[in-house]
Amino acid sequence: MIANNSAATTLTTPSDQEIIITRVVNAPRSLVFDAYTNPEHLPHWMLGPQGWTMPVCEIDLRPGGAWHFVWRRSDGTEMAMRGVYREIAPPERLVCTESWGGDWPETLNTLILSEEGGKTTIRQSVRYPSKEARDAALKTGMLEGASQGFNRLDEYLATLA
C-alpha cells in the first residue's frame, strides 16, 4: 500500500507489521545521522506540523541507552515518547525501540541512511511486534484522525493508481 501525496516523502506498508517512510535530503549522511542522534539538533526539526516544540530531548546514545522526547503544542497539549537504543552504527544505521505509553504497542524502529552524490536517502521503518499490535495502534490513531475531521479520501484514491 502506498500513500504518496508528495514527490518527497513516501510511505509504504510492505507487510502487515511494518511501515516504511523514505525521503531524500540534500546533505551527507554523517550530518543526517548527527541530526537524528544529537539532542542539540533534533528539537530543530523533528516537530511534525506547525505549532509544536520539543522541550525535552534526552539521548543516551549507546546500545541499551534510553531516549525520551516530549513535544508541546502552543495550547499546552503534550505528547511523550521514549525507547531504548539497540544498535548504533554511524553514519548508516540506528535501531531503537519506541513507545508512546498506555495502550500503544512498543515498536522496533530502524533508520538506514545511504548516500549518493552528496544526497542522503533516509529510510525509516517502524515494525510492530504483531499484526494485532499494529491494528491496535491503527485504531488509536484512527480515533485521533477522525476527531480532526480530515477528509483526504479523494487525494488518497488518486495515489492508488
Binding site: 500500500m1 502506498i2 500513500a3 501525496n5 508528495s6 518527497a8 516523502t9 510511505l11 506498508t13 510492505p14 507487510s15 502487515d16 511501515i19 517512510i21 525521503r23 535530503v25 540534500n26 546533505a27 550530518l31 543526517v32 541530526a35 539538533h41 530543530h44 526539526w45 523533528m46 516537530l47 511534525g48 506540523p49 506547525q50 533516509i122 525509516q124 499484526k131 494485532e132 499494529r134 491494528d135 491496535a136 491503527l138 485504531k139 490513531g141 484512527m142 485521533e144 484522525g145 477522525a146 480532526q148 480530515f150 477528509n151 483526504r152 479520501l153 487525494e155 488518497y156 484514491l157 488518486a158 492508488l160 493508481a161
Partner: protein, 115 residues
C-alpha cells in the same frame, strides 16, 4: 471496525492490481470484464482479486444477472488512509524542516572551516 478487518484491508491493499482496481472503481462502477481490460489478466483472475476486496469490505457487487457491476465502498479505506496520512504528514513536515536545518548546518561548517 474490528481489528481483524483492518488486517484484511491491509492485505487487500498490498497488491498493485487490487489497488489499480480500486482506483478504477473510484471513477464509477464497472463490470468484471471492464475491470479486466487494462490488465493483462483474465476475468477469472480479476474475480479472484474482487473476492479479496469484497472480503475486506472495500467493494460491493450488484446482483443483476448480466453484468453485476462492482462498486467501491470507501469508508473502511478512509480510516486506514487517514491514519497513514497523518503519520506521513508528521514526517513530511519534519523533513521539510530537516532540509532547511541541514543547509544551515552545512553553511556553518563551511564558515568554521574558512575561519
Amino acid at each position: 471496525m474490528p481489528p481483524d478487518q483492518l488486517s484484511t484491508i491491509f492485505a487487500a491493499l498490498a497488491d498493485p492490481t487490487r489497488r489499480a482496481i480500486l482506483a478504477h472503481l473510484a471513477q464509477g462502477e464497472a463490470s468484471v470484464k471492464q475491470l479486466a481490460e487494462p490488465f493483462a489478466i483474465s476475468p477469472p483472475a480479476v474475480t479472484k482479486h474482487l473476492k479479496v476486496l469484497q472480503r475486506a469490505g472495500l467493494i460491493t457487487q450488484g446482483r443483476q444477472a448480466q453484468w453485476r457491476p462492482c462498486r467501491l465502498d470507501a469508508a473502511p479505506l478512509k480510516d486506514v488512509a487517514d491514519w497513514l496520512e497523518d503519520y506521513r504528514r508528521f514526517w513530511d513536515a519534519s523533513f521539510e524542516r530537516l532540509d532547511a536545518y541541514l543547509i544551515e548546518l552545512q553553511a556553518k561548517e563551511q564558515h568554521d572551516r574558512e575561519q
